[in-house]
Symmetry: C2
Subunit: 385 residues, 2 copies
């Protein structure tokens, strides 16, 4: 196991009806900006619950944060913050709203000249407005972690700072019952691949981390498809198990002290940037190809994954691994996700474009051992055809 | 799954050499009291590492905190705190030193008349001196949780307060290489049974919590005995996996949203209080008897435990459960722990004494459903003969 430092201070209020917890979480004298997206929270009752919980607070609102939150949109919040002397942000939404709120919080107290430098020049974020979260879509883990991704002019850029870790997060699985099948599919698969990025590398004898990761993977494999089936999609336990898995998938715990990959994400980002494909749907295409092309380097962990997550015991090691990859693809398909570039109508001719984008963005040595050169990325994309 | 709130703010620095992290964790202008036990840290190099890390701090020391830390001992620290205007406590030791330091921290800022009321009358602890921890014995989880147990005149009483949660904890597995076999055995089995108290209850469909618990149990079953064997006891990975498991076992995570038992602990406490038996050695005697006597109420979870933790697939459900209990006992024996009252030279005549102690302490309805009356506790102790 590698040495590591780990912390996660976010207070979690989990379960049906927990939105009421924000009343006591946010100081009564705070001036609150409620940040949300396209307005779906006004149709599913979440907005009303938030309004009710904030009835003794002074609050204002800022809506319109889009998927892959846009810099220009987020900067419009700064005027509202100044006008009303906002000193607390409440993000109500999924990963994009939370990520966007993190950028708003950092930009509000940014000491430099141009807030875009936070992502463009990775200028350190020393302070930020305090953030609370009411999560509506389990997927990204942003509700308790320190990361955020912001988009401007087709550039999708991340930043990280402990200053933007939410002070609290409300996780009410009942809120997720109104999500579309596509949102559920994307969320489950996004969380699944967050786990794989921190698990499917090489063995450092981190037994707790491995078993926690395997437990989360098994839970998503079991519960994910149930959230799409008519007979079980309204089951609150199913939603609760998915929601808790997605938070645990990227709160820092399973990645502490072990190697991490993230090549699937880096290659997937180019598919989103170039063709506007949903983030999770790029991952379900790239991961199986990474598993196949990187089979030798990842042999030990792939075998462990086959045996522990899929309980495969028959056949040679190579056969067990092949079977595990096949079952992973079938799981993605059960989640109604694409698993090949052809599933989203891309072909051989697109690979050159994607490789040049990777090169442009400096993604020339990806993966847990920086062995995924552009040539290997090409192999991966060809494998994914 | 039940609704829950979860938080754990303790920053963890994990790995060999991490004691140096305390230099930056404790404010330079703090006046630090280093709290430790019988002085073993002076023989194993830990004291020297702490002194070196604190070379630019003003610090004092308070030693002599005993196992089952004693109120009178802990109160002696108050004079030192006043004399030197101490404003930061650094606990260097195992669970007893950490628990004792938590009481010292709470007593120092206690607003009431008598600090003993913190445990005797469960008076709320609103504030406490900040605490840091250098852990030397993985077992109790006290290094990141809010609990503490203090003893006075044979009364072993707990208190809990978020104010005493350590701000940071250094977990250096190399520090544990100098522990005696008995300390290792006690620590591994204590952690194991902390997990069982939060796992072996009834099913609430908390899939993440169950799988995390099972992963920790499997890790302790695999790694615990290795820490006693000549050929593997110096293996740092073994120590690291045990240490991380013990912290995760009682940091609040696996117990969030699920039922909890704790009857084994309550019955075990009377064995410690009456006969001075090591805490963990009471647990290894009581747990198997609880599993047998409560087999019907715990059927579902016992079967899951048999199948997932011990991979038992053959035989009837009852046979699988019986086999799992037998394997649990054999694991405790491999850890050189007693599993019967007769192993510690207690017999039938002691049961009346223990039952009267349970009655005296109000322990008349134990377990996840408060179904363990004194009559059931008697059955459990008879089963343990």
């Amino acid at each position: 196991m590698f040495n590591f430092s780990f912390e996660n201070q976010t207070r979690i209020h989990f379960g049906e009806g927990q939105i009421t917890a924000i009343t006591n979480e946010i100081p009564t004298d705070a001036k609150v900006l409620v940040v949300y997206g396209g307005g779906s929270i006004k149709n599913n009752g979440v907005y009303d619950q938030v309004v009710s919980a904030l009835q003794d607070h002074r609050w204002f609102e800022f809506s319109g944060v889009e998927p892959n939150p846009n810099y220009d949109t987020l900067m419009k919040a700064q005027a509202v913050i100044k006008e009303h002397a906002i000193d607390y942000l409440l993000a109500v939404g999924g990963g994009s709203v939370v990520d966007g709120t993190k950028f708003i919080a950092a930009a509000a107290l940014f000491a430099g000249d141009d807030p875009w430098d936070i992502v463009a020049k990775q200028q350190k974020v020393e302070s930020a407005l305090p953030i609370g979260v009411v999560l509506t879509l389990p997927a990204t883990g942003s509700e308790t972690n320190i990361g955020s991704v912001v988009t401007r002019d087709g550039h999708k850029l991340p930043f990280m700072s402990p200053a933007v870790r939410p002070q609290f997060a409300v996780l009410d699985p009942a809120v997720t019952l109104s999500l579309s099948d596509r949102q559920i599919s994307n969320g489950v698969v996004d969380a699944f691949i967050h786990i794989m990025e921190q698990y499917l590398t090489y063995d450092v004898n981190g037994k707790v981390q491995d078993r926690f990761a395997e437990g989360l993977l098994q839970t998503l494999i079991e519960e994910g498809p149930k959230a799409l089936l008519a007979e079980s999609k309204d089951n609150l336990d199913v939603r609760a198990n998915i929601m808790w898995s997605a938070t645990m998938a990227l709160n820092g715990l399973i990645g502490a002290g072990v190697a991490q990959d993230w090549s699937t994400h880096m290659i997937g980002h180019e598919l989103t940037g170039t063709y506007g494909i949903d983030h999770a749907r790029t991952l379900s295409i790239v991961l199986p190809a990474v598993m196949k092309v990187r089979q030798e380097a990842k042999h030990g962990k792939l075998l462990q994954y086959a045996q522990r997550v899929w309980h495969i015991t028959q056949g040679s090691e190579e056969q067990q691994i092949a079977q595990a990859i096949k079952l992973t693809e079938e799981f993605f398909q059960r989640m109604a996700m694409p698993i090949r570039l052809s599933d989203i109508e891309l072909g051989k001719s697109d690979i050159d474009i994607l490789i040049s984008k990777l090169e442009l963005h400096g993604m020339v040595a990806l993966g847990e051992k920086q062995q995924i050169t552009l040539a290997v990325s090409r192999q991966i994309l060809e494998q994914a055809l």
